[in-house]
């Protein structure tokens, strides 16, 4: 039962995700807007973030079981060595774990734009870590 082929999935997209993405894009420079592309039974959000001086290209993947399964975000721009970074430059955002107690993802409260905001925060931490050697979010330690 998928995001793109179930009634519940389509309603979630149309009533929650698409409106928040369109609100995010309002007034934003075109190169920083979110584009949403269908890839099979998944959706991919392509966008650029610039927490300080450096632009990063990213993609956030909404899998077929989204939002019950958290979105997966990876940075396409090459990154240097750092913690909280998984294989393929995938960001560690929600703590690993598929149970309610081991994951920080909450499908009842979070949207795809929340995931993008979390990615922004991750990149800000990444830049700070390279300057100071300290990952600034204590709950991530």
């Amino acid at each position: 039962m998928g995001l793109l082929d179930s009634e519940a999935g389509k309603r979630r997209l149309l009533s929650v995700e698409v409106p928040v993405i369109e609100r995010y894009n309002v007034g934003r420079d075109p190169e920083f807007r979110i584009r949403m592309v269908r890839q099979g039974c998944n959706l991919v959000l392509c966008y650029r973030l610039m927490p300080t001086h450096n632009p990063y290209d990213l993609e956030t993947r909404l899998y077929s079981s989204y939002p019950m399964v958290p979105p997966e975000t990876r940075v396409l721009t090459p990154l240097r060595h750092c913690p909280h970074l998984l294989e393929g430059q995938t960001l560690c955002l929600w703590r690993q774990g598929s149970t309610r107690t081991t994951s920080r993802w909450d499908p009842a409260k979070f949207t795809a734009v929340f995931a993008i905001q979390a990615a922004w925060r991750w990149l800000a931490c990444y830049e700070l870590w390279h300057e100071t050697g300290e990952w600034p979010l204590p709950e991530a330690k």
Partner: protein
Amino acid sequence: MPSIVQVGAGSGGMVVLDLASRDERVTRITLIEPDEYKARNVARHYFGGEAVGMPKARLAAAWLQNVRPDLDVQVLQLDLTAADAQPAIENAIQSADLGVCAVDNEPAKYHWDALMRKHAKPWTLGEVLSGGIGGFIHWFVPDGPCYGCVASFLQREVTVDKPATPDYSQPGGVVAEVTVPASKTSIHAIASLHAQLTLQLLEHGMAGENKGFDPGFTSLLFTLASVPDVFEEAYRPHRLRIARSAECLICRPPPLSSSEDLDVALDQALARLGHA
């Protein structure tokens, strides 16, 4: 005549099935369970090694018929979330009075919740915590809090686990999720509470009073062990009343559209956002 539709016949689900079937007011049970019985199931399940390799649904049905030969037992050896299984599953839900969820993965719980809300059925859920240190039982009715409302609240407000901090210092590091199997006794303790709650909700519904049901909680956390930084005391009930959340993205009402309208609207949205 009261009938139950249940998803899951694992070590906990089988306990609920067995106890529910012994209530002679229950006349029909429909079981949704796609899995085969495995050797690793034997330690915590009802069936012995001779049952390994057989469908759990068939084993469960035979067990129930043995306990209650007059019970109408239907089995659907289907994956709850498989697209091609939905017509049969929805048909089973439509003709039942109450649902029971005995699965242990989050996507399946949300999917069950959506089906129960779609067909306006009350349902119950039982969950045993990692290590069997305790467990939850929950009940849901139409227009009440959904599983999303409950899960969101519990994630924020209730600590049931203090896993060791993973080592995030190395790039590419993957932290394996560790779930400690619960003992058979802890599974039976929580599943028995689940069965008790289910039969009480069913009885309430039989009296035509789904809306007045109040066992003193919407979710009950029952501790079975004292765990430092998690549970102060063993054998302590925590009664939680969780209200429906107006901000819940799972159950807040969507705009009314037909299926065709949804497809058209989605295609239009993808066209707009594909060129944003």
